[in-house]
């Protein structure tokens, strides 16, 4: 059996995982930095990652039940992300690669999110809706790369939810709290908020301002949360639908942290259903940042005939875009199994 290790450190999560060539995720360790208050200070997060790294790496190998000598190659998330955080993962990976002689594969973090969702879904070539704190991208594979068919023109949907939560006094992370409030407010009727889809792109800044204003002028929080979520997700669903019709892909997946939201997945599943294609919602544990997605891509690159990189040439690249990286190594027919750590959601949740 061949094994691959993956290291993820683009933002608040330091994650390390081991995957076997049969697609089984054998370990998936993480240590998530939680700021004492307010947002992320990149340098503080980087210090956290440096402190926890040795322990997390050791734990990942131990839980997988393999020694370092059994690792065939290593994948590291080299961008996009916060520079100081990325540099921790990259520096450690270069050192490990040199010391143990492991091949080193630089992995585009965004590609990692999409690929782990694709491999879990079992679909060969889906349209992917990647939604997180820093990203709102609708992507599909075309001519050897993932290409962006729709995106946000200003803030990401996760940022929209977090910023709204902060403005109305909800604790971080705001997404799950807004989801719960929205369910409670679903019978109160929709407040008219700015809906902005431009071609295949979306824009959220006007929506954020209007939602905060509605709350401050006395609307019930539940009703504002419902209206905010409905409007934002309908925009994403519409952009996704246009991209689906345009690309003619045969399936749809959601990926990224916001893909944990059940209402968003419900909307996307309706879009897929209307066009007669299946939908897969990434299980919560695999939707957020993790090392397993990086290990999985390293494995695919290795199996797909990509040569490992010279460790010296692997550099942290904060502004990397999904379409900056060649993806001519996708393995079709390999299904990743997240094992007991991340059970697939049942049909009532993911409609998958």
């Amino acid at each position: 059996m061949r094994y691959w290790l993956g290291i993820e450190s683009t933002a608040h999560t330091f994650g390390v995982a081991v995957i076997g060539e049969d697609g089984k995720i054998l370990s998936d360790e993480r240590d998530v930095y939680v700021p004492p208050s307010g947002g992320l200070q990149p340098r503080e997060v980087a210090r956290h990652h440096t402190d926890v790294a040795p322990g997390v790496i050791k734990a990942a190998l131990m839980k997988a039940g393999i020694s370092a000598s059994k690792v065939r190659a290593l994948g590291v998330s080299y961008g996009p992300g916060l520079g100081p955080c990325l540099r921790v993962g990259v520096a450690i990976s270069r050192a490990l690669s040199a010391y143990y002689g492991w091949g080193l594969f630089p992995v585009n973090h965004t590609v990692g999110h999409v690929e782990i969702s694709r491999l879990l879904s079992g679909f060969s070539d889906p349209l992917a809706v990647y939604v997180s704190g820093g990203n709102t991208n609708i992507v599909a594979w075309k001519d050897g790369r993932y290409r962006v068919f729709g995106e946000t023109l200003d803030i990401a949907v996760g940022n929209l939810l977090d910023s709204f939560a902060r403005e109305v006094g909800l604790q971080h992370p705001g997404g799950p709290k807004i989801e719960k409030l929205a369910r409670e407010g679903s019978s109160m009727g929709l407040i008219d908020l700015p809906y902005s889809v431009k071609g295949q792109d979306v824009s959220f800044s006007g929506l954020l301002t209007a939602a905060v204003k509605a709350f401050k002028s006395g609307e019930k929080l539940e009703r504002v949360a419902y209206s905010l979520q409905e409007t934002a997700f309908a925009m994403i669903a519409e952009a996704a639908e246009r991209a689906l019709v345009h690309t003619g892909k045969d399936s749809v997946i959601s990926a990224g942290g916001v893909a944990a939201n059940k209402r968003l997945n419900e909307m996307l599943s309706y879009v897929a259903e209307d066009h007669g294609v299946p939908f897969f919602a990434t299980p919560i544990r695999m939707a957020g940042d993790n090392g397993a997605m990086i290990a999985a891509v390293a494995m695919e690159m290795d199996m797909g005939g990509v040569r490992p990189s010279d460790p010296e040439s692997v550099l942290a690249t904060p502004k990397l875009r999904i379409n900056d990286t060649d993806v001519n190594w996708r393995v079709v027919g390999l299904k990743v199994d997240a094992g007991v750590q991340a059970p697939r959601r049942g049909p009532e949740e993911g409609r998958g």
């Binding site: 071609g199 019709v245 419900e266 309706y270 209307d274 875009r321």
Partner: protein, 224 residues
């Protein structure tokens, strides 16, 4: 025909014959209005969104598309005449333009591109942008006239950026059609465009090149 006799009259007034296409947000039907052939664009209900939001979006977009078509028509751009708009019923009825898609005839008819360029310039000068200007959204009639169709992604905009997107989409779509000859086809298009627009056309062309350099998805979306 009895107008005002309830539903029956309405059915008589506008007859649906058969569906011809299904897009992301609308269905196209071939129909008959007062004895003439028409195209009916029906914005369909989206089950994924809140019913109030759904109705609002379908109504405002139907109205907006009707306004765009009316403006273009009145300014002398070759577009299907808007004949009937029912925002509450989410219906837009337009004149049926018979002909071939530019996509299917352009390779045997390069000089037509000049005419297409002229129509697009007239549209821009009328204050409209198309938003999805591909070779699938231009019809060439038997009399060799170029009609621009489907303003579903259009808007009222005098912005250089939006005009640049239109030009880029047309060029990309020509490239997808016939990569080797696309340069010549686009030059003819731009000759026509500049002939109507004047020297300001150069700025639009420059902006379209800049948009392409930004490497966004425009390059991908034009390819049908």
């Amino acid at each position: 025909m009895e107008i005002g006799a309830g539903n029956e009259a309405e059915i008589e007034f506008l007859k649906e014959i058969k569906p011809v296409a299904k897009g992301a947000e609308a269905e196209l039907w071939l129909g008959e209005l007062l004895g003439t052939q028409v195209v009916i664009k029906k914005r369909v209900k989206k089950s994924y969104r809140d019913p109030a939001l759904d109705a609002k979006l379908r109504a405002t977009r139907t109205l907006e598309e009707g306004r765009l078509l009316a403006k273009a028509y009145l300014e002398g751009v070759s577009v299907p005449a808007p004949l009937f708009i029912d925002p509450q019923g989410f219906l837009l009825v337009e004149e049926m333009v018979s002909g071939s898609l530019l996509r299917d005839v352009v390779n045997g008819l390069p000089p037509i591109m000049r005419l297409v360029g002229e129509e697009v310039a007239k549209m821009h000068l009328a204050g409209l942008v198309h938003g999805d200007l591909t070779t699938s959204n231009v019809i060439i009639t038997g009399e060799a006239k170029a009609f621009i169709i489907d303003f579903g992604l259009g808007s009222f905009s005098p912005e250089l950026e939006d005009r640049g997107v239109d030009l880029l989409l047309m060029r990309k779509s020509l490239e997808a059609n016939l990569p080797s000859a696309s340069g010549g086809l686009f030059s003819r298009f731009f000759e026509g465009y500049r002939g109507v627009m004047g020297p300001g056309a150069d700025e639009v062309l420059e902006r379209s090149a800049e948009i392409e350099r930004r490497g966004r998805y425009y390059a991908e979306r034009a390819i049908d």
